[in-house]
């Protein structure tokens, strides 16, 4: 399997703020990598450095065999979708896509395919600013597809969309990855979104990669139990003494768990606690939030 993007020991500093610190990342052909992290983690900076849009202070970046900051050939076959989709609005969508296909040196057939894939047919004679947020993101995807991409980089592509559009967009990304074998880097701070499409996930925080691996290993193995009890403080104390990572959130006690075994162990312990007089009012298990993943990193 070939490597589309290879980032090695990259560092970027803005004034006194280290935006990206010694990051190393590889993206292989056909792979869909999720880049997970809170706002300010350095995801967008890393993406822009990877595309050659930002100067790096240290490290190397090889995109399509070239350094993207020095050689524009690196960006051939690379489509980009930004968080706030924006395209020139002086032309209609069809004119703009037609021009973009000429810029990328691709055919009109590619325009037709991109339009069909993204379902933009009814909106071709509108300008970009006349489109809804979801359609703007679709237009940005159509634009990215015109590069006949080997890699598409999507920087928080769902952040401005409603839940329905989010679902559609993630489905489209998944289809393009599985059917067209296009590699993707999709950044987000929403774990369920990344879990839905990515096979491998890279978790960033404060400019560093803190976790990396298969989605099942990094995200799925961490879960939380939300417990309501008659005496939350007493329960917190008992579970802490038993070695659990617990915190009180309002009237709930949040217990961080690793793996199914720990879930079973917690249930047994709660049964004992309940028998000794502390009433357990309710309990449910949920997938870990970004905070838990970051804390496990």
């Amino acid at each position: 399997m070939g490597t589309v993007l290879e980032v090695s020991n990259v560092r970027k500093v803005y004034g006194t703020t280290v935006a990206v610190d010694n990051v190393t990342l590889k993206v292989h052909d056909g792979e869909l990598v999720g880049l997970l992290g809170p706002n300010g983690a350095g995801k967008s900076t890393l993406i822009k450095i990877s595309l050659g849009l930002l100067r790096r202070d240290k490290g190397t970046v090889i995109l399509n065999g070239y350094d993207p900051y020095e050689d524009s050939r690196a960006r051939r076959g690379v489509g980009v979708i930004f968080e706030r989709p924006m395209l020139p609005d002086s032309l209609t969508i069809i004119d703009l896509l037609d021009r973009a296909s000429r810029i990328y040196g691709t055919s009109r057939e590619e325009v037709r395919r991109a339009v069909k894939y993204t379902g933009l047919e009814p909106h071709l004679y509108k300008t970009f600013t006349e489109l809804s947020a979801g359609l703007k993101q679709r237009a940005a995807i159509a634009h990215a597809l015109l590069s006949r991409p080997r890699l598409i980089v999507a920087d928080e592509p769902t952040s401005n969309l409603d839940p329905i559009e989010r679902g559609r967009l993630l489905e489209l990304i998944d289809t393009l990855n599985s059917d067209e074998k296009i590699s993707f880097i999709v950044s987000s701070h929403v774990i369920p979104e990344i879990s839905r499409v990515a096979k491998r996930v890279v978790v960033m925080n404060r400019g560093r990669i803190i976790l990396e691996g298969d989605v099942s290993e990094v995200v799925m193995k961490t879960s939380v139990a939300r417990i309501r009890a008659s005496d939350v403080k007493a329960l917190e104390k008992i579970l802490s003494l038993s070695g659990y990572d617990v915190r009180v959130e309002g009237i709930n006690l949040i217990v961080k768990l690793k793996g199914v075994e720990q879930q079973a162990e917690l249930l047994r312990l709660l049964a004992d606690i309940s028998a000794s007089g502390t009433r357990i009012l309710s309990m449910d298990f949920a997938g870990a939030g970004l905070e838990e993943v970051l804390r496990s990193g």
Partner: protein, 247 residues
Amino acid sequence: MSLRTYYNILYVDVSDVLRPPGLDVLILLVAALGSALVTIQPVTSPVVATRIALDPTLFAAALFLAVRGSAGMAYLIQSGIVNVYLTYPIGKVPLAVLLIISRVFVPSLIVLAAPLVILTLLLSSVMLKGPEKALGLYLGFFFQASLYGLLFLLFALRSRSQSTSGLLSVSAYFAYVALALILQAIGRSIDNELVRKVGDAMYLPEMVYSSYMRGGVETWQILFVPTIVVFLFVLIVWYFSRRFEVV
């Protein structure tokens, strides 16, 4: 990278710069104003006619360059459209050159050409007496407008703000004109020929006009504005390709 790629990026950006309303209205105004000013005066020389028509047009061109060129460029940066341009498989140096062409050279050429075309149609007997001289003076105005436009573009790249770059641009225009007048006045009052000539040289159309009508213009005075234009051109290309960072 092929010329086709460059042409199509240029096409997209020029479409933005020249989108209506704006340029079309401006062209109508300057064409009407230029031709009106010329036709109410007994003009027999193509150089005089061109100057009368283009002097007020240059001011309109400077305003257009401040709004569409400079503030428009700041909008490209703020909105993220420049990021899209930068993701195209094209180097930063050619992209900088294309942006200068679309944001400065093309609008300058078009706005200044509008009254000249009308003038040639209305007063063909006068204009055809010396079309090369009219063209020479037109080039003088073009370089002068390009100087303003490049300066404004630099402000846009540095400030990244529409309002700041627009304000800086208009202020810089008046400051430049004032500086030229001050140098001329100082040169005359202290009887310093060099200072006066530098003041004169800051307005290229006057130098070209004088060289056609009166003579006595030195070569360096003709080259003064084009040299600043070349310097600003190189500075912007360098800045955009080596120092400019997207947001």
